[in-house]
Symmetry: C3
Subunit: 270 residues, 3 copies
């Protein structure tokens, strides 16, 4: 699949349908229902479990793991770490979503610890979350914390250093593995009026990874799918309002097909 690269993005959707991957999500209660429904809508299965005594076993039986830092606690952090290490041992790919990681020193330290102890395949956040993570990561390694996060180059540098694919979602999404870099121009600004679109993007990245899609392509596909679903839902339901828009997002995720994806995706290698 790897050699097909950018031209095969649509085909990755079919991998999911064929393989029905199980995504273990350790996530926050605010957006959990949406994250579960998004994975199901696109053809995966999901299990949500966060208790220390069971996370390793559940991760071990999953095809991918999504670690979400929303509404954290010390106990939740221990679960994230245990599950992450179990995934690493079994070579199960891991997505890390540093939700609101700039909001408190507890979250900053938790994120740092997680990046230090768990090898993650993909890190996805908005620009302020990734900026915060980048600063913390650099400080952790004694690098000048003042490095500005003002350019695509910095994202690439962060990917190189962490050996992870880094995704910065926003008006335009940036995805890089430190080598290749993609820009996704799907989505619409109204998506920021719904809670959880970022968490959904991370969950779907886990879904593509679970279907054995290469990390950088998983991240691109997930960002494009969420963006396309948002765009199409807003186009169709925006004038009704945000309730319709929210509902429509799941209509569009469930109806996503190769043809729609290929017609709508605006993915550029840059």
């Amino acid at each position: 699949m790897e050699k097909d690269g950018i031209n095969s993005f649509g085909a990755y959707l079919e991998l999911i349908t064929n393989r029905n991957p199980v995504v273990h999500q350790i996530t926050n209660f605010v957006t959990a229902n949406d994250c579960a429904n998004a994975v199901l809508a696109m053809g995966g299965r999901t299990v949500m479990a966060d208790y220390i005594e069971e996370v390793e076993e559940i991760t071990g039986a999953a095809d991918s793991l999504v670690l979400n830092l929303g509404v954290p606690s010390e106990e939740r952090l221990q679960s994230l770490l245990l599950a992450g290490k179990a995934a690493n041992k079994k070579r199960i790919p891991v997505v890390f979503d540093p939700v609101g990681c700039g909001a408190s020193s507890f979250r900053r330290n938790a994120a740092k610890k997680l990046l230090h102890e768990v090898e993650v395949s993909v890190i996805r956040g908005n620009s302020s979350e990734i900026q915060c993570l980048f600063d913390k990561y650099n400080r952790m390694r004694g690098i000048d914390a003042e490095t500005k996060f003002d350019s695509i180059c910095t994202v690439r540098k962060f990917a190189e250093k962490t050996h992870a694919v880094v995704v910065v979602t926003g008006e335009r999404d940036i995805v890089t593995d430190g080598d290749k870099m993609y820009m996704i121009e799907n989505g619409c600004k109204e998506m920021s009026l719904l809670t959880g679109t970022g968490c959904i993007c991370s969950a779907l990245t886990g879904l593509f990874l679970g279907a054995d899609t290469k990390a950088v392509y998983s991240a691109v596909c997930a960002a494009a799918c969420v963006g396309i679903a948002g765009e199409l839902s807003w186009k169709r339901y925006g004038e009704c309002g945000l309730g319709h828009f929210h509902m429509g997002l799941f209509d569009m995720l469930g109806n996503m097909r190769k043809e729609i994806f290929e017609a709508e995706a605006r993915i550029h290698e840059i």
Copy 2:
């Protein structure tokens, strides 16, 4: 009501409207909002509380109790046990939903412990959850764990042994109290694309129980209501997509009336 049996299923709906039962749900955060709204939609009231210090008091004031094993923890298990025992003491009916009980040894042991310490009126799960519970239950009693869960007879045997009504939901739902056995043919396969339809079925079983409906009829009515709502929602909104389908489920639950129930229910005594 008992003597009317199968011909009165529609009438049980009216019991709910008349009695407005309060269902105490100890449930997981993924589907809690849907479970609460489903109970309200069909005319009940609900309270969700899971803290050890208050569950007994809250159960004691409720008309039924639903114990859901989703996203468990040791502390949550203690709450399930305490509430269950409080319900038993006051003869408040209990529904047990062993969510994902095959997913970890923690859940298997938790489910076993719960079945051992709490007398439950109804156990509801999908076939793999009930299979897992059945194996664990048998092993617990030194019975050959290899008994195959390959037939309706096994479900009946499990009901006999546990003195509970056992419900296996799936393409067709099976409900038995060890004596009578019903098959419900409502529902549609797309319901598996929404998280929480099983949890909702357990919640609604609690609702019927809370209105003093006999356990086996409560389970039949709840399974039929969820199935009918799913079917009607998919028929009406399926072509729009899964977001509409999810929303429509609550439309249909809220609009469920004796007449609709009786026209749509496909319940067979077998």
Copy 3:
């Protein structure tokens, strides 16, 4: 703004759009998604965090704090208290929603403790919650607990004693700061068929407070907005059912504008 008073309610909506306040919500998992989406829909931002180690820092960076007693625990109570005190220290306004505070002695004591240790700007509940709080509060101060909660006068008395704005939502909403008293006649009885409309009202009260609206006007605006949204959604979608009604609530909150507010609000000073 204060001097404009009742004639400026519509203008407070624009304050939110201009100031984009951040509301820190410590809330229950049942309605968290709706509470977050309601705040975003009306132009605010929100952060949900409940871990002891981070709540003070997160409150400190917010424009208002909403303390919701739903699905409580001892640990959650400690977070509510810590965040509340941090807010008091920094003069960040606090809303308290004593969800189900009559349901257990744990909740009654938690509510009492919170009112004792935290200075709150607004207390919002339904009549049984406020009644319970009032009794507990009086008992705490050695006042005759038998004072009947049978009149608007009692609500006023409670506001005077707590130095908080007290809001009793129901068929008609009552808002008073002990001096002025308002009745809001928006909303419809079907809102009680959806879980979370009360929590949403508290969240939106926090949103108005965060935009520097005076407490009594914040409470009036929030109650009116939720009521108007409910009314308009029911008018438009009620015949479809409760799923549509739920969705429509967010359509209407997102579409709320000064003109709609002023045309629809039925606010009386009494």
